[in-house]
């Protein structure tokens, strides 16, 4: 076994499940994990986000059976019943396992033509895009993945959209699940993946569980993958997700992540622009309160000329919440005419809230345009006073300003269906963290022609 004790955190929370793994890829991942351990604060990439909440638990594999009622309720509450989303094909996982009875086509909506779907469990293959040897959480996923979805869109097919929902249904026992998803788009294909992670409130109080998904996205020449993610898991949850995207020439991976839930969350994206004129957007927003920690980490590699990368992140932090943004842009020597932009902004609404930001630019090409910036501030007193002087009560004025700050980045996401999900989730989170709207039905955008 291991001669040297790992430098990182102990694997004890998972140890019982790591023994006796035989599949060679999984076995190698376990070996890697045993060598390095779970990342501790001295690992540069995990300096600001500590995995302490995982310690002291023994995470068991979640049972395959679940209580249908709370899961059904969680789905109903999170997905609007009408509008575009209701008629969008959906794939539902409960505790990391695909639930065919809750998914298309069983729910009456067919998967789009030209899209192939397969469960990971049907033929567990690990996509080469992921790098378990570099990311311990991907190694953990590789070792313990039991299910997930595998989607491929045939060349030239415009597949519209698919909703991917993860419902956690944890009870009194700490469980973890490590779904493995992959999406591949043939040349010229397009798809919007609308991802939603929620918890169903079954047990009393906050159930402890750990959600550790890995998603790989293979975007071929001229294809476009749009990816919207809303993470609103319950207190007690730890959500550590890793996304890998490889974007070929003229392809695009356009993503938006909205982080609202979990005690501890990280959305980590590794995007590689591997062909000329490819584009990647890693936009996102977080609205956190209490003692939540939310981390958005990205590593964007420009490995071909004439590519574009865009990152606009906005954080609203109340109470003792802490936001983390780490953004690395790596421009290879070949990647001339790179156009990179990165902006991280935070609104701190309490003296105890905190944002940690670490931008990193590593540029080896000489003809590039890369800018990055960050702002941190409180609500603007003049703006608050302006609203109040027009009769708007203070609490409502605060909500209007916070919402405006976040809507400016949500506006980067144009698709109506994904936007509906973002707006619904954000509205609920604003009511919880900032204060209710004074007048029901007076949401932004309502006054129109």
């Amino acid at each position: 076994m291991n001669a040297i004790a790992p430098v990182g955190r102990s694997l004890a929370p998972f140890e019982a499940r790591l023994d006796g793994i035989e599949d060679p890829i999984r076995h190698a991942a376990v070996g890697e994990l045993r060598r390095v351990g779970l990342p501790g604060p001295r690992v540069e990439a995990w300096r600001y986000t500590h995995l302490r909440p995982l310690a002291g638990h023994e995470f068991r594999e979640a049972a395959a059976s679940f209580d249908a009622d709370p899961v059904g309720r969680a789905l109903d509450e999170s997905l609007p019943r009408d509008g575009l989303l209701a008629s969008t094909p959906r794939l539902v996982l409960v505790n990391g396992r695909f639930a065919p009875e809750l998914s298309s086509p069983a729910n009456g909506v067919a998967l789009p033509e030209g899209v192939t779907f397969e469960r990971f469990s049907a033929s567990p293959e690990f996509d080469a895009l992921a790098t378990p040897e570099r990311e311990p959480l991907v190694a953990l996923n590789t070792a313990l993945a039991t299910d997930g979805v595998r989607l491929s869109v045939a060349e030239g097919v415009a597949a519209e959209r698919i909703v991917l929902v993860s419902v956690a249904c944890a009870g009194d026992e700490a469980v973890s699940f490590h779904p493995r998803h992959s999406v591949s788009l043939g040349a010229g294909a397009s798809l919007e993946l609308i991802e939603l992670a929620v918890s169903s409130g079954s047990g009393a109080g906050a159930a402890t569980y750990f959600h550790n998904p890995v998603l790989t996205c293979d975007v071929r020449e001229g294809a476009k993958l749009t990816h919207v993610k809303v993470q609103k898991e319950a207190a007690g949850a730890t959500h550590l997700a890793t996304v890998y995207a490889n974007i070929a020439a003229r392809g695009a991976y356009d993503s938006f992540t909205l982080g609202l839930g979990s005690d501890l969350a990280r959305h980590e994206v590794h995007a590689r622009l591997s062909g000329a004129k490819a584009a990647v957007h890693v936009n996102g927003a977080q609205l956190l309160g209490e003692k939540q920690v939310g981390d958005i980490t990205s590593v964007i590699t420009h490995a071909a000329p004439d590519c574009i990368s865009r990152q606009t992140i906005r954080n609203v932090l109340t109470d003792h919440a802490r936001g983390v943004f780490q953004g690395k842009v790596h421009v290879h020597q070949i990647a001339q005419k790179t156009d990179g932009y990165q902006m991280n902004q935070a609104l701190l609404l309490s003296p105890h809230a905190e944002i940690d930001a670490k931008p990193e630019l590593e540029i080896y090409a000489d003809d590039v345009k890369c800018s990055h910036g960050a702002t941190v501030g409180a609500l603007d007193d003049e703006q608050l006073f302006y609203l109040r002087s027009r009769g708007v009560p203070e609490a409502q004025a605060r909500r209007i300003l916070v919402e405006a700050f976040l809507l400016e980045v949500l506006d980067l996401h144009e698709d109506e269906a994904g936007r509906a999900l973002l707006d619904t989730a954000l509205g609920a989170a604003l009511s919880l963290r900032i204060g209710r709207e004074q007048v029901p039905g007076q949401a932004a955008g309502e006054v129109s022609e």
């Binding site: 003049e382 006073f385 609203l387 009769g391 203070e394 400016e408 932004a444 309502e446 006054v447």
Partner: protein, 256 residues
């Protein structure tokens, strides 16, 4: 004594980088109902500060004096309560609200004020009808309603947007802080029309200005000169014309 607006012995200061700076040094001013008063005075004399203190801006600390408005202690009220009570301030430099749609902002404000005054709120249709009528009267394009509040507005557009808000909120005391500055002749006329449209025995206006022109349209009942944080001289409409010709030198000497 009138029971409309009564400012007496008002002192206010601001914390300027740790050191208190006294700006208002004993303002006395009475505005009876139904009247339009103008305040003129050199730059930095405290006109905007007075308007902010009346509207309830918290940065300014009132150290002594009192303000009663329709029999209520204005200084004890929150800014939103003052708005509900009928105070409206058109800002010298209107604030930009990125991400806040102008129409939504107006509707939120109008309904907040209506709610507080015990009036029925306007639904989307009722609001649109009212706001359309108002923009038409002010020769404003509806396009400005779709934009974010004051963001990217020209100086004149911002001022018009203030007048639109005033029209929609139906105040009983309108304080216009240099709403006429930077306006073209037509816009000036519109501002004056906006104020004149509100005129009634229960409406008063306090118009801060550097120019005679707006006052020609408004025909104020009284003109006051403010210098070094005090009202140092008051007179009729003819005072504005005098100032236009002579400047403030004689009043400053008086105040010193």
């Amino acid at each position: 004594m009138s029971d409309f607006l009564n400012i007496s012995g008002l002192h206010a200061r601001i914390d300027a980088d740790g050191a208190p700076k006294e700006i208002l040094r004993g303002v006395d001013l009475v505005i009876p109902p139904g009247e339009v008063h103008a305040i003129m005075g050199p730059n930095g004399s405290g006109k905007s500060t007075l308007s902010y203190v009346l509207a309830g801006r918290e940065d300014y600390e009132v150290t002594s004096g009192a303000v009663s408005f329709k029999g209520q202690d204005l200084l004890a009220m929150e800014p939103e309560e003052r708005a509900a009570a009928g105070v409206f301030l058109a800002f010298q430099a209107p604030i930009e609200l990125p991400g806040v749609n102008n129409a939504n902002f107006l509707r939120t404000a109008v309904n907040a004020v209506r709610r507080a005054r015990g009036d029925a709120e306007l639904d989307a249709v009722g609001f649109l009808k009212t706001v359309r009528a108002a923009t038409k009267k002010l020769s404003m394009s509806d396009e400005m309603l779709k934009r974010n509040v004051n963001v990217g507005f020209s100086g004149g557009e911002k001022k018009r947007n203030e007048v639109l808000q005033m029209t929609m909120l139906q105040p009983s005391l309108a304080i216009l802080d240099e709403t006429d500055s930077g306006l073209d002749v037509d816009a000036l006329r519109i501002v004056a029309d906006g104020v004149n449209a509100l005129r009634s025995p229960t409406f008063s206006a306090l118009v801060i200005t550097h120019h005679q022109r707006l006052l020609d349209y408004l025909n104020p009942d009284r003109v006051h000169v403010m210098a070094r944080g005090r009202i140092v001289h008051s007179g009729g409409a003819e005072l504005a014309k005098e100032i236009d010709v002579q400047g403030y030198a004689s009043f400053l000497a008086e105040a010193a």
